[in-house]
Amino acid sequence: MAALPIALNAAQAALEVASSEGGNLTLDLLKQYAPESVPAWILPLTAAAVSVGIVVAVIALLALTSVWLERKVSGHIQCRYGPMYAGGWHGWAQSIADGIKLLMKEDMIPLGADRALFVIAPALVLGAIFGAFVAMPLSPDFFFADLHLGAFFILGMSSLTTIGVVMAGWASNSKWSLYGAMREAAQVVAYEIPLGLSLMVPLIVAGTFNLLDASAGQSDWWGMGWYIFKNPFVLPAGLLFFVSSLAETKRAPFDLPEAESELVAGFLTEYSGIRWSFFFMEEYAAMYLMSLMAAVFFLGGFESPFLHFAKAAELPVIVCNLIAAVTLITKSMIGVIVMMWVRWTLPRVRIDQVMTMGYKYLTPLALLCVLGAALWEAGKVLIFE
């Protein structure tokens, strides 16, 4: 619940930044090439529509791919093949077939449900996660909103999904859904703290909330100056961030809000068809969001020796951008695969164990990491300057 004012503040900050700097590639392009006769107020709207279209398309594609990937990974971990038929090569079209099936299912709203909230909840969840993606740069020169408080904005927007989940659980008029929603609320409140604190560690090292600046700060040492190598406290903070992001994205072993063997499907119990698939898509989008954050703040962002030598060889800007984007997507893809790997390794923990882990272990450890990193950086300043 505390996420709402944070998100609103972040949105306010984003609006101020966007209005002052106009950090949007599509808007710049439109301003450059639009004819004189077009009224000025249309340009930002068009730029917003185009940006949203690109973001939605990219996330939908990533979500579809990772649903297929998850099924393949889970299959191979269990010594089977997973989907093999749909589309021909290793069942690549399975997610598309599933999507078409979900679109054609009956749109059901249970009797006694709060219809308005029931309908709004999936849209809110998906909208919040898409909103978070707006602040995520795809390459150094291709971004939709270059925010000074990018990390803050993304954390705020991804916390907003919790409100959608609680809304869905409350509106469903079902005991399972309500239990799922309560668990989600408890879990997210517990894990927001270590998530934010562990992200503070690379932020201290980077000295900026801006994702582009944070990524550019890792370009020394032939592109290997990643924050996990620059400060000994960033690696444990990265592990804490990974564990907290698992809980934040409701992934096993922290999938207590869904908990299909205890709560039928938790807050998703009464949802079906395309509304259900909105929640599903949000889960995979959130996985990518968290992995992208981890890639930007812990694992070097766009920077890698490839990009370093591409820049040294003075390749065209578009090639450098392409290499940067591929590097970032690859790093986040590895993060997503590790999340799947963990999911199919560990059984689900109990709710009291989740609470214990969040409050008694992750939060103190994250505080220790913040303290250590701050002292380390201060010591560096004192000794070398």
Binding site: R80, Y81, L239, T345, L346
Partner: protein, 194 residues
Amino acid sequence: MKTTISARELTTPREWVQNVWDGLFTTLAGMRITGRYLLRKPITIQYPDERMPIPDRYRGIHYLEQEKCINCLACARACPIDCIEMDAIRHGKELEWVSFSVDYQKCMFCELCVYPCPKDCIHMGTEFAFVTEDRSELKHDLLSFKGMSRDARVRKKEAEEKKAAKAAAKEAKAAAKEAQAASGDQPKEEGDDG
């Protein structure tokens, strides 16, 4: 429900560090195991496309070597639950097949029908998936063709021709014998003709 926690149940700092260590390293150990499974070849096979090898003495749906069968009913008589029915029309030595059905609603795949066969022509096959949309189709006809086989038709024709040729030869012989007799005894021959 307990409302107080005694000091002994609280985690000591030493246990706390041990728990963090255990949590990290048991997870890594588990991930090492699942990672090994992730990289090995799956043990399942793509069933309808490829199949597991079936043992030689597997007892599946019967198959019948219809050419060899002599419709002796030995298998039908051996069947403990009377699920084999057969019908054929006999033309001399050849058979015109009408039906040879096994009712798989009843059949228990005991293989007792296979042993008494004098021609060794009914066997237990390797096919195990037998699915129909209607129960009546479970009464499965094992015949690969109805009526007579091409070979049987040829053999029957050959046998008939042989029989006809034999009859013709016999007739010719009889005629020749009579002709010989007629040359010695003309009036009798004429008398017979008349």
